[in-house]
């Protein structure tokens, strides 16, 4: 049975990009609630499907106005009558004339079961070029600015030739560069302290015909070229010009007095960028790429004052309600993010600085618009350079791995309602019959806008079973969900991808075993984690942890086998066996723990956590640890302090960091230079093995992880020590009296202690 489910899950994930927490759905609302983990799924809308060529026609829609579901393999078809029944609303629809030749042996692709996911190319409307608007901070160190300029110049060669590109630079002032002029380089300057409306910005830029503020459904047509094109030009036309311009870019020329931070008008710069695009290219795929080397220090959106003696807010300040600018700045950036999202423009943030740069306040810019956030120490690091390059990576077809202006709609069969989504999206406030009043994540809608998508962008969707207990679903009935994703492909085509999935209903009372075995603990862990992270954005950390614990205990009570008040008797079936461990690590993860992380780092980690696919998310929750030794091939080992042995090399992947840790003995050998001696060739190979594996990960991951090469006693070993389960600490080391492993100097509880408590609570009748 288990194997079946695992295969089923994998097969589904491979075909549809969907992982459900439960693969059998409880047939009533009551039962569903008792399962603790909601019916929910991780969905990767643009999962790469090399074997799925898009079809060149438009989808057939259900004719019921409030349904509009797409014809899919679950629909019942009357080939003779040329009629199909919508499986969501049961409306009977005639096939359009072009389907006249349809028959049982001649079926269109969308009716075949293997095309539960299918992609349509829509041939309507003018094709809009992609737009890339660079917004560059010039308050950088010379070296950083130089590196950034080079990266930007390089990026011009990666852009599609017909893409429009624009440049805004800012420091104390904000400059919008005109790219079309000959001779004197011309730019429009805005004061960095003044918040301007979109209309004012467009007037000041001389965009004589400011477009009516973007509205939904407006055809993505560029406004008349002349005006807008002064600032946004096709790369092929201006790349020389722009390369020179970037080359001549000076550091912000305003002197920075001793004891002050440079004045950085990030807020106004973004406002101008958003205003410019809003006025010229509403509802067209565009990326605003913001490069910053420090926090906004003036004007709207200011995060910290320019006095160096006032440090930027920490979690401590925030908890004490002592972060002066936090609320105002956050509100400001949220407003910008929403405007940008409405127009389908996404905003990337590339923040490279040793200190915080205000990501906490600005995160919504990317979170709501599907933009990237990349955080590094300097623009002159391979972390930034390669990550930035990877933004422009291409797929097997030679198309950019990015899509724009996605609108994702979810349709459910009547027993289900949609509660919400968690991911890089904004609500489109589309109320419908399938929208639940019970919100989880971004709810209250059945449509979300995802301004920018890539093949790994994954959203979590949460559902509610609304079927009443006394109205059983007919035996063998299936619930269905349809995801309809409309987007602008990077080759500027409009496309629609439709995924329709179905799961069987099961009566929880009679079939609880089946339901239990249909549990996808990995997906469930990630989905619950997303809920936790989502809550953490608005709630106090301890509350979130308590909530998570509560959920875990209830789940264990529901599915554990135990005798009351006897912790030792507690057992979990295989399908749930790993779940508590995930929760243990999740509790320790930077997504929920802010200790030792700056607010920016927390925002950064959370940003990536809510958009990566299941595999990556799991790595984030529970890092992977590989051990390399002379005793055998590399093997995954427990993420536990006992795995830290003197004669091992460890490779830990936390998604954000890649740590290679040389055990004490290995480190000594390495220091002694054995690897350079011919007779110790094998040692050299051993040293090399984790490097090669790390390289493989570095090559593919976005954003590129921080690469750390350390050893026993090294200061950077903390990255490893903070992640492993502290099974041996200074508190119990001597009690255990073991020589293996490395004690961790922490008061954190170990997994063992955690499990003991969990069992105790689960079997307690009072809990």
């Amino acid at each position: 049975m288990m194997t079946t489910y695992q295969e089923f899950i994998q097969q589904n994930e491979g075909r549809d990009g969907v992982r459900f927490s439960w693969n059998l759905w409880p047939s009533s609302r009551l039962e569903a609630t008792r399962l603790v983990v909601p019916v929910s799924c991780l969905f990767t809308p643009l999962k790469e499907r090399p074997n799925l060529p898009p079809v060149q026609y438009e989808p057939v829609l259900c004719s019921r106005a409030n349904c509009k579901a797409v014809l899919n393999p679950l629909c019942q078809v009357d080939f003779r009558a040329k009629i199909w029944a919508c499986n969501f609303c049961f409306q009977r629809n005639p096939f359009p004339p072009s389907y006249a030749g349809i028959s049982e042996v001649n079926q269109p692709a969308e009716l075949m079961p293997q095309f539960s996911t299918i992609e349509y190319i829509v041939q309507r409307g003018p094709q809009a070029p992609l737009i890339f608007l660079y917004v560059v901070d010039t308050c950088l160190e010379e070296e950083d600015l130089q590196a950034l300029k080079e990266s930007l110049q390089m990026s011009l060669s990666l852009l599609p030739p017909n893409a429009l590109v624009g440049l805004i630079t800012f420091g104390r002032m904000v400059q919008v560069h005109e790219l079309s002029c000959e001779g004197i380089a011309k730019s429009y300057v805005f004061r960095g302290t003044k918040d301007l409306t979109s209309k004012q910005i467009q007037e000041m830029l001389g965009l004589t015909k400011p477009a009516a503020s973007g509205q939904q459904g407006r055809p993505p047509a560029p406004q008349d070229g002349a005006a807008s094109c002064r600032f946004l030009q096709p790369v092929q036309k201006v790349d020389m010009n722009l390369t020179d311009l970037l080359g001549e870019l000076q550091r912000d020329p305003w002197p920075v007095p001793q004891g002050k931070r440079p004045l950085r008008s990030t807020g106004v710069a973004l406002s101008v960028a958003v205003g410019l695009l809003e006025g010229t290219f509403p509802n067209t795929g565009a990326r605003v790429m913001l490069f910053i080397g420090g926090p906004p220090t003036q004007g709207p959106g200011m995060v910290v004052g320019d006095e160096l003696k006032t440090p930027i807010r920490s979690w401590h300040d925030i908890q004490k309600d002592n972060a002066r600018h936090l609320k105002k700045a956050t509100k400001y950036y949220e407003a910008l993010a929403n405007r940008s999202a409405v127009n389908g423009h996404s905003i990337d943030i590339y923040a490279c600085a040793l200190d915080q740069t205000g990501l906490l306040e600005m995160k919504c810019l990317s979170n709501l618009t599907g933009g990237h956030i990349v955080m590094g120490d300097s623009f002159n690091t391979s972390l930034f350079k390669q990550t930035f390059q990877r933004v422009f990576s291409k797929d097997y077809n030679g198309d950019f791995r990015m899509a724009f202006g996605g609108v994702l709609e979810v349709k459910t069969s009547r027993e289900l309602k949609i509660c919400g989504a968690i991911g890089p999206c904004v609500s489109l406030n589309s109320k419908g019959s399938c929208v639940s009043e019970n919100e989880m994540g971004i709810g209250g809608t059945s449509q979300w806008k995802v301004c920018s998508l890539n093949p790994s962008t994954t959203l979590g969707f949460y559902f509610e079973v609304v079927n009443q207990h006394n109205a059983p679903v007919p035996q063998g009935g299936r619930g269905a969900i349809q995801f309809v994703t409309q987007y602008q492909h990077s080759n500027t085509q409009r496309r629609i991808r439709v995924t329709t999935i179905a799961r069987n209903w099961a009566d929880a009372q009679s079939q609880i075993q089946h339901i239990e075995s249909s549990f996808d603990q990995e997906a469930a862990a990630v989905l619950m984690a997303r809920l936790g992270v989502f809550r953490a954005e608005s709630e106090e950390g301890p509350d979130v942890l308590r909530w998570l614990d509560r959920q875990l205990i209830r789940l264990c009570q529901k599915f554990g086998q135990f005798n009351k008040e006897d912790p030792t008797s507690f057992k979990l079936s295989e399908s749930l066996s790993l779940y508590p461990q995930f929760m243990f690590h999740l509790r320790r993860s930077p997504f929920l723990q802010v200790f030792n992380n700056s607010p920016d780092e927390s925002s950064y980690y959370r940003h990536h956590f809510v958009r990566q696919d299941l595999t990556q998310s799991l790595i984030m929750i529970q890092p992977i640890l590989y051990s390399y030794s002379f005793y055998g091939p590399p093997e995954p080992v427990l993420l536990d302090s006992s795995s830290i042995l003197p004669d091992r090399i460890l490779l830990m992947d936390t998604f954000f960091q890649l740590v290679i840790y040389h055990g004490e003995t290995i480190a000594q050998w390495r220091k002694a230079g054995y690897q350079d001696m011919a007779e110790h060739e094998i040692f050299k190979l051993l040293l090399q093995a984790p490097l090669d594996d790390a390289q493989e990960i570095l090559q593919t991951r976005f954003p590129m992880p921080r690469y750390i090469d350390t050893e026993h006693g090294g200061s950077q070993a903390r990255f490893l020590l903070s992640k492993v389960n502290p099974s041996q600490t200074h508190n119990n080391l001597y009690a255990w009296g073991q020589e293996t492993g490395a004690p961790i100097l922490t008061d954190d509880v170990s997994l063992q202690v955690f499990m003991d408590h969990l069992k105790k609570l689960a079997v307690s009748s009072s809990a």
């Binding site: 002032m173 001779g183 004197i184 730019s187 000041m204 001549e248 000076q250 020329p253 305003w254």
Partner: protein, 960 residues
């Protein structure tokens, strides 16, 4: 009386124009009419019989004429320079005038009414009336009452007298004393009251006796009689040189004869400005040494060398009086303004040493503890040199050890002649950081060029010319040491409805343009790269200046902003934390939506009404506030206007005028014809030496106090004159008032200290010290005053007055004061003379003439074709002129131009000379002398365009 008023106006209007035109044709018969305007002034100057009256406003017209006529005749010989006058004066005039007087006497009013013609004659008689006032004057206050003199007139007097009594009333009642005669009245006002009582005695008796007695009783009798008697002696002495001089001596006698005598007035006895000028030139052969207190320097028209021996050179300071009355009463009685015209950074001729720079070390300049006066020759060292007593406040201050020096047997410091501050009138101190803004040594200043690139500016060629010229001009930025590179940095901005800043950093291959459209809230978009060193960024700047005209060649933008332009420059200086100067090249009324936006409010209907003054006031308060900010930053604004229509100079000029800047105006600018004139102005303006962020403080010895200041500056309190910029052409007129008695022994001291930042960025104090004598005899005052300086004061006073008063009231005030001055003289200093005799002090014999010129200036009495902008422009122009400039401005030099071509014979006089009037005009201040030279030396020189007041038509002029 009623008639008198009208006459006044009529006289003026009628007179002036006619005078000019008529002048040439020396109408013999109509002499009376002719006399009025042009010649009038000149003539009046002479003590002509009617003298006193002439001074009076209404009369001016009338009086002058008379005098003119007569004078003309007399002056003819010398005055060839005065074109009009001479002719008129000739044959015809003389007789008529005399006649005129007679009739007038009887028909004074009609005469006035009649206007010009009668005026001349009339004037005399009418003046007689003034005598009436005389009586009054005597009584209490007004010994000075000019009227007194008039009394002297024999014939006319009687008749007039009667009217006079009535007249006084009118005066009293109405400020607008209609009477031409009234002049005295005005003065009388103070006097008037008294006149009432005395009136009776005055008129009859006074006539003959009045002079002596009336005055006498008042309390100054001794002066008059005593002094006078003696004075006479001296007067004649003075007189010697000029034909005019005789007046003094001669007139007195002449008057006796009574009206008829007037007729016979010897034309040769009339003072002529030219004669006075020439004579002073002849007299001043020796270098002028400033060591002697109370010595009046040669006239501004004279070339002379100055040796500083303890008082400031007249090039820096000129006073109205070098012998101040000891008491406030005397000063009030005489009505002679006590003022000094200070030109702190004046350029000296090459043969004179510029002020030495003194460094008193870290402690800064040594100053009096109490009044803070700076160390100067007036400080008395005592106690063996351990302390010094302040000459201004008498406070005793310790001499700091490092400054100690022993005294010699005369009580002088041994090092007296080694130290400029102990032996010279003018010198500079190096200021310490305490004297700097924010206690920080200043940065070198910056020049920012802000060029209008709207349609009109481009089309007229202005943009192109400016850009071309700047390329070379930038090599001539002011510097103190010609060997050194100028420390001044430059920046460039162009604008129409929005502003374009330019980054011309030396490291750039091409300049970069930064557009600022947010004019409602101006800011500077960049710092580094905006203000640059010319040599370092030469290539980029040249490239920029080449490209600006191209970039905007096809512009269609016609609207401009103005307020934000100045704000931009100001912000740039603020950002760079330095002082500096903005050169704004502007074309049109700023009507684009922005702070400081203006409306067209030109309304000629207001002229002559009580609301006329509003036309001189700024239409919005924005620029006043802005000016204040500019001054605080040391941001001086020079405005070059190229208007094709009304631009509201009165408003646009607020900032330049308040910041020590200049306004230049080129109406209907055409590149071809106006280029030279503009470029000359621009070149001089850019190159001239200038100081920034200046504060001037005038300290005086006990007894007098500087009470009022006139010039281009800003004052936030009553003592400190703040000048964002102060260049070598700017003069400030300071008025003094008594607040106590002065002593003849110590005289009156003044110290003018100007703290400024030099163009190399050095903070300095320039000190000018001036000591004048004090007198208890009015005669001494009259003997040691300077008419040119008085006119400078009067003109500035009047031109400021039009801001708040109807122009007519301003004119009346001037006339009255002049009359009172002369009346006081007549009453207190002159020996008795005939009632119709105008008595002019030697030093003031040109006062009536010059004053008439002031009265007829476009500001006070505009012609029909004078635009509001022109008037506002002239009004502001005068405010910072020094004495030499006001002199030329108000009394334009008329030069003979050697005949160029025969076909223009019609323009030539019988001697083959073409008379060209050179008007010291609008734009090119310094060009005055140059142009004159070229006219005299070469007939083919570029014609001058200042024909506003020329009697020769421009076209003809050009053809010359």
């Amino acid at each position: 009386p009623h008639s008198s008023q009208p006459p006044v106006s009529t006289a003026y209007s009628a007179a002036p124009p006619p005078s000019y035109t008529q002048a040439p044709p020396p109408p013999v018969s109509s002499a009376p009419s002719q006399p009025p305007p042009p010649s009038g002034p000149a003539a009046s100057q002479q003590y002509y019989g009617s003298p006193p009256p002439p001074s009076q406003q209404p009369f001016n017209s009338s009086l002058p004429p008379t005098s003119q006529q007569q004078f003309t005749s007399s002056s003819v010989p010398p005055p060839p320079s005065q074109q009009t006058l001479p002719p008129s004066s000739y044959s015809g005039p003389v007789p008529p005038p005399s006649q005129a007087p007679a009739p007038p006497v009887s028909l004074p009013q009609p005469a006035f009414a009649a206007g010009p013609p009668p005026t001349a004659p009339v004037s005399f008689p009418p003046r007689a009336p003034p005598p009436s006032s005389q009586p009054g004057s005597f009584p209490p206050p007004g010994p000075p009452p000019t009227s007194a003199p008039s009394c002297q007139y024999p014939g006319p007097m009687p008749p007039q007298q009667q009217p006079p009594p009535s007249q006084p009333f009118p005066y009293h009642s109405g400020p607008p004393p209609p009477r031409a005669q009234m002049p005295p009245t005005s003065m009388a006002q103070s006097n008037h009251l008294p006149p009432g009582p005395q009136g009776p005695p005055g008129p009859p008796g006074p006539l003959q006796q009045p002079p002596s007695q009336p005055g006498m009783p008042a309390g100054y009798p001794p002066q008059q009689n005593g002094a006078f008697g003696q004075v006479r002696g001296p007067q004649p002495g003075y007189a010697g040189p000029y034909p005019g001089q005789p007046n003094y001596g001669a007139p007195a006698p002449a008057p006796a004869p009574a009206p008829p005598a007037q007729k016979r007035l010897d034309p040769d006895a009339i003072p002529s400005p030219i004669q006075v000028i020439e004579d002073d030139k002849a007299k001043s052969t020796e270098p002028f040494t400033t060591g002697v207190r109370g010595q009046a320097p040669p006239l501004v028209t004279t070339t002379f060398q100055v040796k500083d021996q303890g008082n400031a050179s007249p090039r820096f300071v000129r006073c109205t009086a070098y012998n101040m009355p000891c008491t406030a009463d005397m000063a009030k009685q005489s009505q002679v303004p006590l003022a000094a015209v200070v030109k702190p950074l004046a350029t000296l001729p090459p043969d004179e040493t510029p002020p030495y720079l003194v460094d008193h070390g870290e402690g800064g300049p040594i100053r009096c503890n109490r009044c803070k006066a700076y160390m100067c020759p007036y400080m008395q060292f005592i106690e063996g040199g351990r302390r010094f007593q302040c000459g201004f406040c008498s406070c005793v201050t310790e001499v700091p050890p490092h400054y100690f020096q022993h005294l010699d047997h005369t009580g002088k410091r041994v090092d007296c002649y080694d130290r400029p501050e102990l032996s010279l009138g003018s010198y500079e101190f190096l200021a310490t950081v305490d004297y700097c803004k924010n206690n920080k040594l200043p940065q070198p200043p910056a020049f920012i060029f802000l060029i209008d690139v709207s349609y009109n500016a481009v089309k007229s060629g202005m943009v192109n010319i400016v850009c071309q010229e700047l390329k070379t001009l930038l090599d001539y930025l002011p510097r103190e040491n010609p060997e050194m590179e100028s420390a001044v940095r430059v920046g460039f901005v162009t604008y129409n409805k929005v502003l374009h800043f330019y980054n011309v950093k030396s490291s750039l291959a091409q300049p970069q343009m930064l557009v600022v459209s947010d004019v409602s809230d101006m800011f500077v978009p960049l710092l580094d790269g905006f203000l640059v060193n010319v040599n370092e960024s030469r290539l980029v700047i040249e490239s920029l200046l080449d490209q600006i005209p191209e970039m905007f060649a096809d512009t269609r933008e016609t609207e401009t902003v103005f307020g934000p332009v100045i704000q931009a420059g100001l912000e740039a200086l603020k950002a760079a934390d330095c002082a500096g100067k903005l050169f704004v090249f502007h074309t049109s009324l700023p009507i684009a939506e922005a702070p400081g936006k203006l409306k067209n409010r030109e309304d000629k209907k207001l002229i002559g009404t009580d609301k006329e003054k509003s036309l001189f006031q700024p239409q919005v308060g924005f620029y006043n506030t802005l000016a204040k900010e500019c001054v605080a930053q040391g941001c001086c604004v020079d405005l070059f206007l190229f208007p094709n229509q009304y631009v509201d100079v009165a408003t646009l000029g607020v900032v330049p005028v308040s910041t020590g800047g200049s306004v230049y105006k080129y109406t209907y600018f055409q590149a071809q014809s106006d280029q030279e004139r503009f470029l000359n102005d621009l070149r001089r303006d850019v190159q001239k030496l200038v100081g920034f962020d200046a504060v001037m403080r005038v300290r005086t010895s006990t007894g007098i106090r500087a009470t009022d200041f006139f010039g281009s500056f800003f004052m936030s309190n009553t003592t400190d004159v703040e000048l964002a910029g102060l260049d070598c052409d700017k003069a400030i007129t300071v008025e003094f008032k008594h607040d106590d008695k002065l002593s003849e022994e110590t005289g009156a001291l003044m110290q003018c200290a100007v703290l400024y930042t030099s163009c190399s960025g050095q903070r300095r104090l320039r000190i000018h010290n001036m000591a004048v004598n004090c007198c208890s005899q009015l005669a001494d005052l009259y003997r040691n005053c300077e008419t040119d300086t008085i006119i400078n004061f009067f003109s500035k006073y009047a031109f400021r007055g039009v801001l708040n008063n109807p122009t007519k009231a301003v004119r009346d005030t001037l006339v009255n004061q002049c009359a009172q001055i002369l009346a006081c003289y007549r009453k207190n200093c002159a020996s008795p003379s005939s009632a119709g005799q105008l008595i002019l002090p030697e030093c003031m014999k040109l006062l009536p003439v010059y004053l008439n010129c002031v009265l007829k200036s476009d500001v006070l009495l505009p012609g029909a074709d004078v635009s509001l902008d022109d008037r506002a422009y002239l009004r502001q122009l005068i405010s910072c002129m020094d004495v030499a400039e006001t002199h030329v401005f108000f009394y334009p030099r008329l030069l003979p131009l050697v005949r160029p071509r025969t076909q223009h014979r019609s323009l030539l006089d019988e001697e083959g000379r073409l008379f060209v009037c050179f008007m010291w005009a609008a734009a090119s201040k310094r060009k005055g002398s140059c142009c004159i030279c070229s006219f005299t030396s070469s007939a083919c020189c570029q014609p001058v365009h200042y024909y506003q007041h020329c009697s020769v038509q421009p076209d003809e002029n050009k053809s010359a």
